[in-house]
């Protein structure tokens, strides 16, 4: 059922993407320089960055060692290479007993934080958890209203203050309320911020400190929301955000487009945290736990996943 969503999203992807690997692996292709060049091209298109070139080099080396002799063996080789780089990349969300489990959501502007929070709240609620939201984006106009609308739709409580309020103060209140009302999960929203803005990154540190004042073990998860359409800058985002907050995982949003978010591989080289969820659509249910195999297949655009 859940898998169906990704399938549908991937189906869309496939319909648009005409330059997928599957075409490259058509019958009769020879493992020659032209093939390798095209392969590198396709890998780059998935935002793998320099890893694309490295994979091609590894492929060449394998060919030289006679581990690979023909084009037909290439998909499995690449798949294994990519999967190896995603070892330990899937992990469930933390859960503390007693609660609340505090989840801080951070990311650059427009990456999809608020929508991801709504989806995550829905996901947790469906699992039978008591969920609360903290409207910590006090900067962007109407961000509080946006989250409040989601809270109403989901029928869950939200802690908020007026616009321009101090996010740390909202966080403080929200943690206090979450403890008092014995909720299982508290999801704390924050304003989008570019990782290059020193003062805003300092603010993030402050939010973490304030949360810890109430609950020393919190935040139990700090999830960085990344836009799958982002290129190599995502790596910078990951390393900078992790300096300001203890990032424990990623949410890869907007996976329902034609972008694959391949920067995740590069991110894991600087910040080896799990990818917790993928955002695969605009609806409340469009959030999926990360599955490395499905993800790698999506990166490689193999036709193994048949449309639902």
């Amino acid at each position: 059922m859940v898998f169906g969503k990704l399938r549908a999203a991937l189906k869309k992807t496939r319909e648009v993407l005409t330059r997928g690997l599957s075409r490259l692996f058509s019958l009769g292709r020879k493992l020659d320089a032209t093939f390798l060049d095209e392969l590198e091209h396709v890998l780059y298109q998935s935002d793998l960055g320099p890893l694309g070139t490295r994979l091609v080099e590894e492929l060449k080396a394998a060919y030289a060692r006679r581990e690979i002799a023909e084009v037909a063996q290439v998909p499995a080789f690449l798949r294994a290479m990519l999967l190896r780089r995603l070892e330990g990349a899937a992990a469930p969300l933390a859960k503390t007993t007693p609660g609340p489990t505090v989840i801080l959501i951070v990311g650059v502007n427009g990456s999809g934080k608020t929508t991801s929070i709504a989806k995550l709240a829905n996901h947790l609620k469906q699992q039978g958890h008591k969920v609360m939201l903290g409207a910590g984006d006090t900067f962007r106009a109407a961000a509080v209203e946006q989250l409040s609308l989601w809270a109403d739709r989901l029928g869950i409580p939200i802690i908020k203050q007026g616009p321009g309020a101090d996010t740390a103060a909202v966080a403080y209140d929200a943690v206090a309320a979450a403890i008092a009302r014995k909720v299982d999960y508290l999801l704390l929203d924050t304003a989008g911020r570019l990782h290059t803005q020193k003062n805003l990154m300092e603010e993030l540190k402050k939010i973490v400190r304030v949360v810890q004042k109430q609950l020393p073990s919190a935040p139990h998860e700090t999830l960085l929301v990344l836009d799958a359409t982002t290129g190599q800058n995502a790596i910078r985002q990951a390393s900078e955000f992790s300096k300001a907050a203890p990032v424990t995982g990623l949410i890869l949003a907007k996976m329902d487009g034609t972008a694959k978010g391949g920067a995740v591989f590069g991110i894991r080289e600087v910040l080896p945290v799990p990818v917790k969820f993928l955002g695969v659509g605009e609806g409340m249910d469009d959030l999926e736990p990360f599955n490395p195999e499905h993800y790698v297949d999506a990166i490689l655009s193999f036709d193994k996943i048949e449309p639902a």
Binding site: Q45, T53, R140, T230, N233, A263
Partner: protein, 478 residues
């Protein structure tokens, strides 16, 4: 690793520095690392490939000025190609004789449409004396209408909104009627973010376009976009007649390589760039400046261009040779000095070198010293200028009197001139107008940091030269 383009360009630069001309081979070497850097900066694979071919062609077709370093020439070639790729000229918004001017914003989710709508309205009011109306046609994202209304209220800009149950094309049409009625001369339509593969929503955009006939459809592009930028931009462009692009979140550290690709595949120029969180952080886009930013360079380009325009290359070459042989005379020095003066105020010229502008913040540079040196040299006889050895003490005294300087000033200049000659003989090359020459000149001029004996510009080649030491003509050390 990631300040890639600039670094890679640096290594490209190093690999061809010192070459007398740019040959296919040394350009190739430089270009390989540039290609890698482009890809790391998210330039689309295909676009990078074509771009590299363009750079190569330009580089090989260039006559390299003998006095200007081929490395720097290469930077300029690269910059020109990049500027061309970025659309060349600056392009403005469309105009109409029949207001209101209707602008339609579109783009992916999270690209910054709503914020940019408000910024653009503010920009139009401030710079074009317009009375804009914002139309809230993003009925998809929760509270998007409230966001636009709140921004409008904050900035004092009118917003037309309807309940979210309305249909966007209807809202836009009625918004335009509203603008007519209330004499707004610009209407900005804020549409919902959408995926380019969302058939229904893309059709809806087309309907808005068909019914409202906007004078300009603007596509918003996040500067952090990756390789997929090309796919989405192409799709938007095939559905809607794009007038131009607005690049957002330029204040981050993304190299904005995707923007290059988008310009390339749509053939549409970037009109504006969002440069910060504040409502007035919107700048008209200048391809040349952006190219400089992407390359992480100062305005070396401007400097090289200026140098090209004021320097007689044959003369510069002749002087460089003389310098190397130690035949450099006060006459040559004077003519070199004058060439530099043609470039403009010294501080500005030096400030065009990457990184130097920052270092020069606390340095007091006075062009009056050029005049002082000129006066001393002009007070010498032609024979003295050509043979500085003959200038004995009585001659020095005469020169000092004639030029209105203290004797020490004349001593100082001659001493430094001789040191420069010696140094040049040792260096053997790189004279004339390269960075080395500049540095020595700087020593000659006795530049020093305020309150400190050592100039912060040692890196430019002036280090160790006795400039900052002993009082220079006029007794004032600066």
């Amino acid at each position: 690793m990631f300040d890639s383009l600039a670094n890679a360009l640096g290594s490209a630069y190093r690999s061809i520095v010192g070459q007398k001309v740019l040959t296919e081979k040394n350009v190739d070497e430089g270009i390989r690392s540039v290609r890698q850097a482009l890809l790391e900066a998210d330039v689309n694979f295909q676009v990078a490939k074509e771009f590299i071919a363009d750079v190569k062609q330009r580089a090989l077709g260039q006559d390299v000025l003998t006095a200007v370093d081929p490395g720097q020439q290469f930077v300029k070639v690269f910059h020109d190609a990049l500027t061309a790729l970025l659309g060349g000229q600056t392009t403005g918004l469309p105009v109409t004789d029949n207001p209101p001017l209707i602008l339609m914003m579109c783009g992916l989710q999270g690209s910054g449409k709503t914020t940019t709508c408000a910024k653009l309205a503010l920009w139009l009011r401030k710079n074009k004396k317009k009375n804009p109306l914002l139309v809230a046609a993003d009925l998809q994202r929760p509270a998007a209408v409230e966001q636009l209304q709140s921004l409008g209220k904050q900035l004092g800009i009118a917003v037309y909104a309807e309940p979210v149950t309305a249909r966007p094309p209807e809202v836009c049409r009625r918004g335009i009627e509203h603008a007519h009625k209330f004499q707004h001369d610009v209407v900005i339509l804020d549409t919902a973010g959408r995926l380019h593969i969302d058939e229904l929503l893309m059709q809806e955009l087309q309907e808005v376009q068909a019914r409202c006939k906007p004078h300009g459809v603007l596509l918003l592009c996040d500067s952090m976009l990756g390789q997929d930028a090309v796919n989405s931009a192409k799709e938007f462009h095939s559905r809607l007649p794009l007038h131009g692009l607005i690049l957002t979140k330029v204040d981050g550290d993304a190299r904005g390589g995707a923007a290059l690709s988008i310009v390339k595949v749509t053939g549409r120029p970037i009109l504006f760039a969002g440069t910060g969180e504040k409502p007035d952080d919107l700048e008209e886009f200048d391809p040349s400046r952006m190219a400089g930013r992407i390359l992480g360079m100062g305005d070396v380009v401007g400097l090289v261009e200026k140098a090209q325009s004021v320097i007689d290359e044959k003369e510069a070459e002749a002087q460089a040779k003389k310098l190397q042989k130690g035949q450099f005379t006060f006459e040559d020095f004077l003519s070199q000095l004058n060439m530099i003066r043609k470039l403009g105020p010294l501080k500005k010229v030096l400030g065009m070198l990457p990184g130097v502008g920052q270092m020069l913040k606390d340095v007091d540079l006075d062009d009056a010293h050029f005049k002082r040196i000129e006066a001393i040299i002009l007070s010498m006889s032609p024979r003295e200028r050509r043979n500085p050895e003959v200038i004995d003490t009585p001659r020095r005294r005469r020169i000092a009197l004639g030029s209105g300087n203290q004797l020490e000033a004349v001593h100082g200049l001659i001493k430094q001139f001789k040191m420069m000659q010696d140094m040049m003989k040792k260096l053997g090359k790189g004279g004339g107008f390269g960075p080395g020459g500049m540095g020595d000149l700087e020593g000659m001029l006795g530049m020093g940091k305020k309150g400190g004996p050592q100039s912060g510009m040692g890196g430019m080649g002036g280090r160790g030269f006795p400039g900052g030491r002993g009082g220079f003509p006029g007794g004032r050390r600066f």
